[in-house]
């Protein structure tokens, strides 16, 4: 265990947590905002895949990272729109529609990958541009802290700033207030003349936007290629993380950090010659355990509230 402890106590481990947290934090924010509006977007998995793929393809063909970013975001927001169209306009169940979108995204990206790269696995043959790493002036000079905080991919910082953005959006803007009102009591919102469907659609578009950033980071930061189903369940872990964090900014940040930590541990355990099936299991098992504790706590809370009436 000695070498493992050493590596976990090293600044590199702290750095790894933030790096691994990024592609969870983005979709978690997306899920949280849509949940606050009362129409949970569990199509994050598919949204991330589509954007990750689009980013790689566009950057390969245009060699322009701005265009890749733009295209990726556009595709993510479109996924949110399509989900909104199914759910709000055609009145389909939002969970079922999201599952359909996830399956579509998985199949579609593999199909296109095959058409373009003649490869059903990864796009290693397609070189993708990546977003730059940022070295924070001053902070990088601080021992340990500098090593943990500085030198991350641009999108990692964007992710952390997104928490502040989310806080501002939810608590300080009119749209945020309306999102919360619609989520808590749509009839109440409607009765004061708020267009409930429009607010829900906005929240789905925003969640698509954050899903897109998560996907783009995966294929153009975390690694520099696209691989089939490379999201590996992060979109679903985001659903768990959002619930654990109560869909609120600070909670969402802490729970994403927690899942980042767990994932980092599972990676650091790999050299220990434990069966890899076991180490890979850790994040998912933790998710289940965390959710169990969360539901127990919520039931308690509910009971306490009921007792008060």
């Amino acid at each position: 265990m000695g070498p493992l402890l050493d590596s976990i106590l090293s600044p590199a481990f702290g750095f790894a947590i933030l790096r691994i947290m990024t592609p969870i934090l983005f979709p978690t924010i997306g899920v949280a905002i849509s949940s606050l509006a009362g129409s949970i977007n569990i199509a994050m998995e598919g949204t991330m895949l589509m954007s990750a793929f689009t980013g790689v393809i566009v950057s390969y063909f245009t060699k322009n990272i701005y265009l890749a970013l733009l295209a990726g975001i556009l595709v993510g927001v479109t996924m949110g729109f399509v989900l909104g169209y199914f759910h709000l306009k055609l009145k389909a169940d939002i969970i079922l529609s999201a599952i359909a979108l996830n399956m579509f995204a998985s199949g579609f990206t593999i199909f296109m990958l095959f058409l373009i790269a003649k490869d059903k696995g990864t796009s290693i043959s397609l070189r993708s541009l990546v977003f730059p790493d940022i070295h924070l002036p001053l902070i990088k000079e601080i021992p340990i802290i500098g090593e943990i905080l500085s030198g991350h991919n641009l999108l990692t910082y964007v992710a952390i700033l997104s928490i502040i953005f989310m806080y501002f959006l939810i608590y300080k803007t009119r749209l945020g207030l309306r999102i919360r009102a619609v989520g808590q009591n749509p009839d109440a919102a409607e009765s004061v003349g708020i267009d409930v469907k429009r607010i829900k659609l906005y929240s789905l578009l925003i969640s698509g936007f954050f899903g897109a950033l998560g996907g783009l980071y995966l294929s153009m930061g975390y690694v520099s290629w696209f691989g089939r189903d490379m999201t590996a369940g992060r979109g679903f872990i985001a659903v768990a993380a959002s619930n654990l964090g109560g869909h609120l900014p600070l909670g969402v940040f802490i729970s994403s950090l927690f899942f980042g930590l767990i994932n980092a541990i599972s990676i650091y355990l790999a050299p220990l010659r434990l069966p890899s099936e076991f180490t890979h299991l850790i994040p998912y098992v933790t998710t289940i355990i965390a959710l169990t504790f969360y539901s127990i706590r919520m039931t308690r809370k509910k009971k306490a509230y009921k007792g008060k009436i």
């Binding site: 300080k172 803007t173 009119r174 749209l175 945020g176 207030l177 309306r178 919360r180 009102a181 808590q184 009591n185 009839d187 109440a188 919102a189 409607e190 009765s191 004061v192 003349g193 708020i194 308690r300 009971k303 306490a304 007792g307 008060k308 009436i309």
Partner: protein, 508 residues
């Protein structure tokens, strides 16, 4: 006097074919309090929803302040100056009072940013103007019902409503809260507002309203000055027959104790003692009434009696048998029935049919089922019988519960519970939201059950009801029985009121 609102020939047919308004015309004079009364399902709520733009009528026109108007949605209504306080509150529970008030017309700083300070100022201003104090920064879910309703009224006033529609505002209020609401309404009248007020409580209608319109079966029967009519006249107009308000005679056949409650105590999850050493017994053939302001432990007591909650201490007996900690199902098998206070939450499954709701507690017994299969033919026949006997207004036994009017939903619950041949009946607010005719029906059914030897435990915020029906009365205050009356004759509601408010304690 000029009419502020005039509706002409409103016809409303719901998608399921129910004609809820059959050519209704009503005229409401400016600056009056106009009561709208009528039996359950007579179409009062529907008419108001049409005026407020929630439901689209098939025919008819609406004039507001002399102009013909098209109200397509609540937004249009608000813009005209019509506001509605719904029977179930339209508030976001996790938002603050101020946020709920400004919702939909939020003050902004730079186009996007909420001006929270301004929102609080607005709240303060309007609440001072109309003398309706509210805590601007408290979350709605932490407020008592009366204050929530006040927020609703302020919400309507903030939008400059000239006409306020209140749909059964008093059905969830205690007598004290009702008094406060009435002061508010009188105050609003001084400000030139017009109020339409729906209620089933005739005493209140006499007290507060200037005009009374009576509806029956989707039509308007009559509109009169309130002081021309006695309570008696109003109920006669509503149901077309006389209704008795006399105290019912006590049952002769009082038998052995059926329900015995010994020293029940309960401390809730927040460590406050909600029930303290409650003991009482109910004999066969007796109705014991529990009076008290809501939130003094009645809910917990009822839940303990019906197996929904476990007491920390104490015992329950059915005759000699200990029934502590039995599941609700076991209790039901022992013929303990329960009419819950919150019908939508604990009484019915609203998306399912009347038939299904009638048999939920007995589907597994013959003749409702044969082996694995439900006997739908019998269930239908049985349901139709209940619908007839309890005078439930429903277009079919296969109608879903949510297509019924509020009072008729209550009757569905009462019908199921009282038809189970109960030994003990726990009746929590059994007549909330139902009209005088149906109220009498429910009262008679409870009395019938009593005379057949059931023990009835009646919990009600309506003191008239308690005094009318009970053989004995207990008053609960902060989880304690503070008074017991074994002789009811001559007791007035104000006497009970003193104990309910904790101003007095009796011998217990």
């Amino acid at each position: 006097m000029v009419a502020i609102l005039e509706a002409k020939n409103i016809v409303k047919v719901y998608p399921n074919g129910v004609v809820a308004n059959k050519g209704v015309s009503i005229s409401v004079e400016e600056n009056t309090i106009h009561a709208l009364v009528g039996e359950n399902g007579s179409g009062k709520t529907t008419l108001m929803k049409v005026i407020f733009g929630i439901e689209k009528p098939q025919d008819g026109e609406v004039f507001f302040q002399g102009r013909k108007v098209q109200v397509k949605n609540p937004h249009d209504a608000i813009a005209l100056g019509i506001g509605m306080v719904h029977q179930h509150f339209m508030l976001a529970p996790d938002l603050t009072v101020a946020e709920n008030l400004v919702l939909g017309q939020e003050p902004l700083k730079n186009k996007f940013v909420l001006d929270t300070k301004k929102a609080q100022e607005i709240t303060q201003e309007i609440s001072e103007k109309y003398k309706l104090p509210v805590p601007p920064n408290k979350k709605i879910k932490d407020l008592p019902l009366g204050i929530k309703q006040r927020v609703e009224i302020l919400k309507v006033l903030l939008r400059n409503a000239k006409l306020l529609i209140l749909d059964e505002p008093t059905s969830v209020l205690t007598p004290q809260e009702t008094e406060v609401l009435f002061q508010t309404l009188r105050e609003l009248k001084k400000y030139g507002k017009t109020i339409i007020f729906i209620s089933h409580k005739l005493k209140e209608i006499k007290e507060i309203s200037d005009k009374v319109t009576v509806m029956r079966d989707g039509r308007i029967i009559d509109t009169r000055d309130a002081n021309e009519l006695s309570e008696h006249d109003i109920s006669f107009l509503m149901v077309g027959r006389d209704i008795s308000y006399e105290r019912v005679s006590a049952s002769e056949a009082i038998g052995e104790p059926l329900l015995k409650v010994n020293n029940i105590s309960f401390t809730n999850e927040e460590n406050s003692p909600v029930l303290k050493n409650i003991s009482f017994e109910i004999k066969a053939g007796e109705i014991v009434g529990l009076a008290g302001i809501e939130g003094n432990g009645q809910n917990e007591l009822v839940e303990i009696l019906t197996g929904l909650r476990k007491a920390d201490k104490g015992e329950l007996f059915l005759k000699q048998e200990n029934i502590n900690n039995l599941s609700p199902r076991k209790l039901r098998e022992k013929k303990i029935c329960y009419i819950p206070a919150d019908r939508m939450k604990n009484g019915v499954a609203e998306k399912t049919t009347l038939e299904e709701n009638f048999i939920v507690d007995r589907y597994c017994q013959p003749p409702f089922s044969r082996g694995f299969r439900l006997n739908w033919k019998y269930i239908e026949k049985y349901s139709k019988e209940l619908i007839r006997k309890f005078q439930i207004l429903a277009h079919s036994s296969k109608a879903t519960v949510d297509s019924l009017s509020g009072g008729n939903i209550q009757k569905v619950v009462v019908a199921r519970e009282l038809s189970a041949d109960p030994k003990i009946i726990v009746a929590d607010q059994p007549t909330r939201g139902i009209d005088v005719g149906s109220e009498e029906l429910v009262h008679n059914l409870l009395i019938d059950a009593r005379d057949k030897g059931s023990a009835v435990f009646l919990i009600s915020a309506n003191l008239d009801e308690i005094i009318k029906l009970s053989s004995k009365i207990m008053v609960i205050y902060q989880g304690e029985i503070v008074a017991r009356f074994d002789k009811i004759d001559g007791i007035r509601d104000v006497d009970l009121g003193h104990y309910m408010l904790g101003l007095k304690r009796g011998e217990v």
